[in-house]
């Protein structure tokens, strides 16, 4: 029983990290069609933000609370710059955005290596996040519980923003029909920028979160980016609820596979499961009902 709960929680925790990484992607990839390979590097930027903040504010608790908005800002501004300089001209070539942003990812990684050095750095977790709580006999690390809470908070915030604010309404309008939105007086340029800012900012928050469970290195982004994309693909492009289900399903599956086999075989099994799943539902868990042929 403890084992089962422990494994389930490990899966949920992995899922919550995946969800944090994938939420931003489901905005930029799902809603705008841009395949941002630098999303992982925005996470890395968020993680290094947490590191830098902790260098200035030594109190781990305060620095964590400051890091989260700071990480959001850093990720968001990076995304804004990327959108304004490069992606703006490439909305009609979605596949090429993948390669361009891969180049950006390479540059950001090397920049992190040059600034912070290749060895990984550590961010201290605050005292009130150290230790475990017992759930039916299974030890649950508080840091992982915190990440789970943070990812649910981000999810709630994003859904509220999209569904209940004028800004979110404009974003959704532009996604559904750019021309009609523009004719109705919505500034599509601003909407694009905001969508990208928020999506990239979420990557920054994800980066801050993962500093609590591992060390920060220039390669942090590459560890998450492929899985995060798989979550968006399996969930259905542009579907936030699909991303949520896919993230937690993949997290639980992966922890089960890794427990019953090895980490490396678990990865391969996950991929097989996803390819088989796409055989059943090529458009992911949820898909927009359209009359298009694709």
């Amino acid at each position: 029983m403890e084992l089962l709960i422990g494994q389930m929680f490990a899966g949920l925790s992995l899922g919550s990290v995946l969800l944090l990484a994938a939420l931003g992607l489901s905005l930029t990839f799902g809603q705008m069609g841009v395949i941002n390979m630098a999303h992982g590097e925005f996470m890395m930027a968020g993680a290094y933000t947490a590191f830098v903040v902790q260098q200035t504010i030594s109190d781990a608790g305060v620095s964590l609370l400051v890091s989260i908005p700071a990480g959001f800002l850093v990720g968001g501004v990076l995304g804004l710059v990327l959108e304004a300089v490069l992606l703006r001209r490439m909305y009609h070539r979605p596949l090429d955005t993948l390669l361009v942003t891969f180049g950006v990812a390479l540059i950001l990684q090397q920049a992190a290596r040059d600034i912070f050095g290749a060895p990984s750095v550590d961010v201290r977790a605050p005292g009130w996040l150290q230790g475990n709580i017992e759930l039916l006999g299974a030890p649950i690390p508080l840091t992982r519980l915190f990440i789970l809470g943070l990812s649910l908070l981000c999810l709630a915030g994003l859904v509220l923003l999209l569904k209940a604010t004028p800004l979110g309404r404009r974003i959704r309008a532009v996604v559904l029909n750019r021309d009609l939105a523009e004719t109705s007086g919505v500034s599509t340029r601003r909407s694009d920028q905001l969508t990208f800012f928020i999506g990239s900012g979420l990557a920054g928050i994800a980066g801050v979160a993962v500093t609590l469970i591992g060390s920060t290195s220039p390669y942090l982004g590459t560890n998450y980016i492929v899985d995060a994309f798989l979550v968006v693909v399996a969930g259905g492009i542009g579907q936030i609820k699909g991303a949520v289900i896919a993230a937690f399903a993949l997290g639980v599956l992966q922890s089960v596979f890794e427990y019953s086999t090895t980490a490396s075989i678990g990865k391969v099994l996950i991929l097989i499961v996803i390819v088989m799943f796409l055989q059943l539902r090529p458009q992911g868990i949820f898909s927009l009902k359209t009359r298009s042929l694709a």
């Binding site: 705008m32 069609g33 395949i35 001209r89 596949l95 090429d96 492929v226 796409l278 042929l293 694709a294």
Partner: protein, 416 residues
Amino acid sequence: MRNLLRGRLGTAAGFTLGAVLLLGVAPAVLPAFSLGLLGKFLCFAIVAVGIGLAWGRGGMLTLGQGVFFGLGAYIMAMHMKLADASLFGGTGVPDFMSLYGSGEVPGWWEPFRSPALTLLAVVLVPGLVALVLGLAIFKRRVKGAYFAILSQALAAAFAVFLIGQQATTGGSNGLNGFRSFFGFDLKDPSNKLMLYMIAAVVLLLALAIARQLMHSRLGELLVAVRDQEERVRFLGYDPATVKTVIYVIAAVLAGIAGALFVPLVGIISPADVGVIPSIAFLIGVAIGGRATLLGPVLGAVGVAAAQSSLASTFPSFWVYFQGLLFVLVIGFMPGGLASLPAAVGRWRRTPASASTPDAAPPSSTRPAAPDLPAPDPEAPDPAAPHPEAPDPEAPDPAAPHPEAPAKATRPEEVSR
């Protein structure tokens, strides 16, 4: 007809020139060390020919060519390890296995003791993996970004798998320290020359095959599928078959290149097959001109040469440079160097319009409708997109779709 004849003659002349340069001039002029390096670059060029077909002509952004490259390479490496072990070790067990593993050769290594089976497997294993994957993906009409991400996940999973199986694949060290190649001593300079020659001949063959493919019915269909997949389907063809065939060919080419890479370079490790090397294969193809025949080859050799001369002296600078190449070439010159003459010509005719490449804003967030499920209410009848609607895949006057100059007109006819 005259054009066709001239085209054929020109191709034959170019092919002969390439053969003379690669097989005659290069071995005569270059010192042994540089020749070995060139051999390595030629392996990348063979991969690039396949990517040029699949990505440039077929629009399949395959980010997992490292997997097929790695399959071919590891199969060859396993054979060479086993052969070395029985030739020099006496025990028949590769050295690293007694270090990390049980000291016994695992069952799935055994087939690769046989040279004939190894050569067969180098072609068949990547081909079969690509066939199964291609059928699973393309038959279900998974395409565009989905396909790219899946192929990338495949590369990631493959590298993780190799690293995890240290006892049987050498883990992150990979397989290295080879001494013989089918009984030939690898230290002997004349055998090194032979390896280079094999790589050069394989590249020439790959080019010849690719050239024939491009000019075949299948090649025409491939371009048509890239530009308007739905219309090809309505005409009664199955785009999935076309794509799968080309994907398999690209995979086999990558596998053969990997098998040649191992004896030439002397090591294969997960660092050569994962996500980053798989994407890195693409940049040379993009620089040269992804939809052309020779562009990918020249681009791949150029990038590999630049990397080997720059990366060791300025490692940090090289990564920035590589990143910038991706950004500049894909972002601002999607046709690669091959598109420069046409671009210059256009710029001379209409200097004003060429200077604002993003003058025409995209009409929808996801205009590349074939890639994504686009809920596009502005096209009430998706079966017949009206001609005045901006066609995302059609050559954009400002940012031209990569197109071989010789083929520039024909694919357009298909999409009209």
